[in-house]
Symmetry: D2
Subunit: 138 residues, 4 copies
């Protein structure tokens, strides 16, 4: 297990003052927290580019009256079972469904799964949101 270390950064004092103002404006996070956030965001992008094990969320908006679509969505998720962690389904109104699938696997494999689901006839909108497993992301 690793511990906390401190390192120092040199910045122009005007830049630092503006950054502190921005942190205050956003509320909550202090300077160290904001910098750790920026570091983590870059490392997550790196994990996706390097095709490492990542996690993510696939958001699908679809019309459940589309014949065969619900079955197709279920079927594809079963074929790719090792990448799918959970699925939450929301009945938005009489026609519209929001299906939110939490996934975990190699980046390229997750992207391929998302493209396949989003490309299905009857899916009105779909997005893949990438995050990390957090394993190496303290």
């Amino acid at each position: 297990m690793s511990g906390l270390v401190r390192f120092s950064v040199s910045v122009d004092e005007d830049l630092l003052r503006d950054f502190d103002a921005l942190c205050r404006e956003r509320g909550g996070s202090n300077r160290s927290e904001a910098i750790r956030d920026a570091i983590r965001r870059q490392l997550i992008q790196r994990e996706w580019e390097a095709d490492e094990e990542v996690s993510g969320v696939i958001t699908l908006l679809y019309d459940h009256h589309q014949p065969g679509l619900s079955e197709r969505l279920t079927e594809i998720q079963h074929y790719t079972l090792s990448d799918v962690i959970s699925t939450t389904h929301v009945h938005v109104d009489a026609r519209n469904c929001l299906e939110v699938i939490i996934v975990r696997g190699e980046a390229r494999s997750i992207e391929a799964l998302a493209n396949r689901l989003i490309g299905l006839k009857g899916v009105k909108h779909g997005e893949l949101t990438g995050t990390s497993t957090g394993k190496t992301l303290r």
Copy 2:
């Protein structure tokens, strides 16, 4: 209830050939489907800009060892109950949690909620993914 209509688009034939090749490459979707997708994507962006009622997904990666964080996440979601539809929680490993919150409400209100959650101390990474309620998005 509204029905299907057809309209015609004039394009350079080379552009159309390249577009058809792209649709084939992506698999699944035909030309009409791909154009409907592009139209919907623009309308969803418009819904968010115009602060209409939208739906979305807030993805949070956090360390549940952070004192008070789980309670804070729950508390904020209860205060904004009218915007929160459901929450799915995944135990990624011994430390890391993935919390995926499905939301629905006015765009600015959803953005404020997302910023508040993502800014909490101990949240390692957070993203708001915008989609639509689909109501006016056939």
Copy 3:
């Protein structure tokens, strides 16, 4: 040389009505024009992914008091002469320069050049904006 063709798209009439309203709101472009724009945007993204010959713009904001930076920028552009079309330099104020470099070449090669320039010590902000040579983009 290729000519204009027409093809027809079937859409729900509500979706089409909302799309027409959006086109009017943005001013200028009619339905066909808006759809051609969406098609072209997808084909340009494809050109970059497939590492084809593309064009683009590298925007650099830097402090010309940074020792050796101007020389370094010029030197790198000379080494990669085949990719650089033109450079425009704006003296923003006593310290700040905006340098805008128009480039053309294979996508990966353009990206490498942009990363190298943006990563130089003293460059405060840099962006690569991708577009096309337009050759196959009618």
Copy 4:
């Protein structure tokens, strides 16, 4: 005029090690430089959101055979003279032009100008790239 100051950040040592590896991989920039870059990027985004005075680049790809387009581009730029710093024009091939316009002004005003130019009939692709005047961005 402001001087350099140092401040210290506390981070988990694993996170710091991964960040250092990422900086090395990208070449050039050290840890302080990479953190300053991340800070500046956030401040620039803030300048655009707060409608401050910014600078930017409008990239237009168009077909100069489109009747009246070149005249229209010139005319609009003259009407908005106070926002336009310079224009560079590249003859990409017999048909295609790349026009790169450096702009400076209030963020909303720059966005309106960009939308107007990009929406013109015959413009195949357009992008607005936002940067800063660098005035308060050390």
